[in-house]
Structure formats: structure tokens, C-alpha cells
């Protein structure tokens, strides 16, 4: 998977939230084989000493700061600038939420923030609704990849609109497309990959499973399998049977 000229051998990007312990998070990260993990930016608590969460991440992992929790382009841009200053990375997962119940993205604010951040030299990876026209606008704005959702964040519903992902893949063959949000289990990740995604970003599906390290392994394998199937090119679907054995020479 290539993002802004950087090659990643794993097609899985994972989150760092909702784990029951840092140790559990670390074992899931290791099992997943992911090379990139996403982290959120928040105010430092002033009334108590806080552990440095980043110390629990393997130093070999690429950290992808995100703007989760932002509801306006302005807040997302401010958050992005702070993240870059603290981590000295241009990579950014841009997320501008439009509604608390669905956590659906505000596409208009996302595009506005993307335009500003690209001009400032960020490598912008935007979360957005699975919409081809929006994808084109984000790419025209200079985003390094497109990250359409599969389903609402944390819902685990899996790919709700496979046709949209497939259309985006077919119409934007050169874009790096990472399915972000909504995956619930391994088959969901495999489906996203079979539809032509270059990668999948997930958090809850691993963190909220009963055995996150095992689910992380399952996701790793599903993503590899889905990618192989996509590259292999699936057989056409037919309504009726098509015999696999020769029709002649059957004993009478």
C-alpha cells in the first residue's frame, strides 16, 4: 500500500482506543502486523499526572494522528497543526464529524479543512461518506488517499454499500482507497478488500472483540485473503449452475 510515496507492506491500519488495557492493545498491535496506528489529540489533564500513552506503542509503528472529535474545519486544522508540532509528522487522518448520533462526516467541512491542510504540506487522509463525487473533490484538493466509510464508526455493520466502493475503485483506479470505519469482523474486511480497497482502517472491531490479539490476527489474514482474491479476479456470478465436470462420458 502506497501513501504519498511511502510504501507500507501491511494493508491494515488500526486504532488505539477502547482496549481494556495498554498491554492488550500492544499484543493486538503486534498480532495485526499493522505498521501504522492512529491516535487522537486531547487536552493534557492538569489536575493529575498522566502516563505517556505513546510509550505503549512500539517505536517501529508509524503514528497517524487524527482529528477525531472535531466538528468544524477550523478545529480540525488547529488539531492537525498541534499534532504535527508534537509528533513531527505530516501524516494526518482528517476527520470532521457532522452529527453525534451517527458520527457521519461533514463532507463540506472536511473538504474545506483538506484544502487548507494540503496547502500547509500535510499528507491528508480524509474520512468521508462513500461518495464518488466527494472522493474526486478530495483528490483534486490534493489528498494523499481517500478513506470512505463502510458503515457508521464503531457500528460493526460491515460494508453497507458495496456498489459505491466498487464504483469508486473503478472510476479512481490510481487513488489509494482505504476503507475506514464500520468493519465488524474478518469477513467484512475481506469484502472491503475484494471490492478493491488498498487497505482497511479499524479500531472497534479489534478492541471490542473478546480476544483482541486473536481478532487482530483474523483481520490480518482476512485483508491478505481479500486482496489476493481481488488481484486474482473473481469468477462471474451466474443465476444457474455450471457443471465443473465434463458432461460427456458419464456411464449409462
Amino acid at each position: 500500500m502506497i501513501i504519498a510515496g511511502r510504501q507500507f507492506s501491511s494493508r491494515l491500519i488500526i486504532g488505539t482506543g477502547k482496549y481494556r488495557s495498554y498491554e492488550q492493545m500492544r499484543s493486538a498491535h503486534e498480532a495485526s502486523g499493522a505498521e501504522m496506528v492512529t491516535v487522537a489529540v486531547r487536552r493534557v489533564p492538569l489536575d493529575r499526572s498522566s502516563e505517556s500513552f505513546l510509550d505503549y506503542l512500539s517505536p517501529s509503528l508509524q503514528i497517524l494522528p487524527n482529528t477525531a472529535g472535531c466538528y468544524t474545519a477550523e478545529d480540525a486544522v488547529r488539531t492537525a497543526r498541534l499534532a504535527r508540532e508534537a509528533l513531527q509528522t505530516d501524516l494526518l487522518k482528517l476527520e470532521v464529524i457532522g452529527d453525534q448520533t451517527t458520527l457521519f462526516p461533514d463532507n463540506e467541512q472536511t473538504l474545506e479543512a483538506a484544502r487548507i491542510l494540503v496547502k500547509e504540506g500535510f499528507v491528508v487522509l480524509p474520512y468521508f461518506n462513500d461518495d464518488l463525487i466527494m472522493a474526486k473533490k478530495l483528490l483534486d484538493a490534493g489528498c494523499a488517499a481517500i478513506m470512505p466509510l463502510a458503515a457508521p464508526i464503531g457500528s460493526g455493520l460491515g460494508v453497507q454499500n458495496p456498489a459505491n466502493l466498487r464504483i469508486m475503485r473503478e472510476q479512481l483506479p490510481d487513488a489509494t482507497m482505504i476503507v475506514d470505519a464500520g468493519v465488524g469482523t474478518a469477513s467484512d474486511a475481506a469484502i472491503a478488500m475484494e471490492l478493491g480497497a488498498d487497505g482497511v482502517l479499524m479500531n472497534t472491531a479489534i478492541a471490542e472483540s473478546e480476544d483482541p490479539a486473536k481478532m487482530a490476527t483474523a483481520m490480518k489474514l482476512a485483508i491478505e485473503a481479500g486482496r489476493l482474491a481481488y488481484e486474482a479476479g473473481r469468477m462471474p456470478k451466474r443465476l444457474y449452475a455450471s457443471a465443473s465436470s465434463p458432461l460427456s462420458g458419464v456411464i449409462k
Binding site: 488505539t16 498522566s50 487524527n66 498541534l82 508534537a86 464503531g154 479500531n203
Partner: protein, 67 residues
């Protein structure tokens, strides 16, 4: 002098941003600071003078995948 730190109004007896971080006893690794909505680079913390009613945001990183 009174300044807002992460939204809280605080009485402080310091004059620079670097001194504020020391007074708050914060770990300095991998945090970032905004003064009145503009990021202040780490190299400028020492020379950044604070004034009454300044608004300072100090952030770090937490676990999170989505929202």
C-alpha cells in the same frame, strides 16, 4: 496574572510559556501548545511572554481510533 489553560482560568506567577509548563509540572515530551489559537513551536516556548487573559491549549495524544 490570570490565563486560561485548557479552558480553566488560573492565577499564575510566571512570565513565559516555558515557565508555565514547569509550574504545571507537565511532561514535556510529545505535547504541543497553542497560544490564542496559534501553535507555538517548542523552540519558542522560552521566549514567548504571556499576558493577562491569554488562552493556552496544551495537548497530548490519547488512544483513539475514531471520534
Amino acid at each position: 496574572m490570570k490565563v486560561f489553560v485548557n479552558g480553566e482560568l488560573r492565577e499564575v506567577k510566571i512570565s513565559t510559556l516555558a515557565e508555565l509548563i514547569t509550574e504545571l509540572d507537565l511532561p514535556v515530551a510529545r505535547i504541543a501548545i497553542e497560544l490564542n489559537r496559534e501553535v507555538v513551536r517548542r523552540s519558542d516556548w522560552d521566549s514567548t511572554m504571556l499576558k493577562d487573559e491569554d488562552r493556552i491549549e496544551i495537548v497530548h495524544f490519547v488512544g483513539g481510533g475514531k471520534n
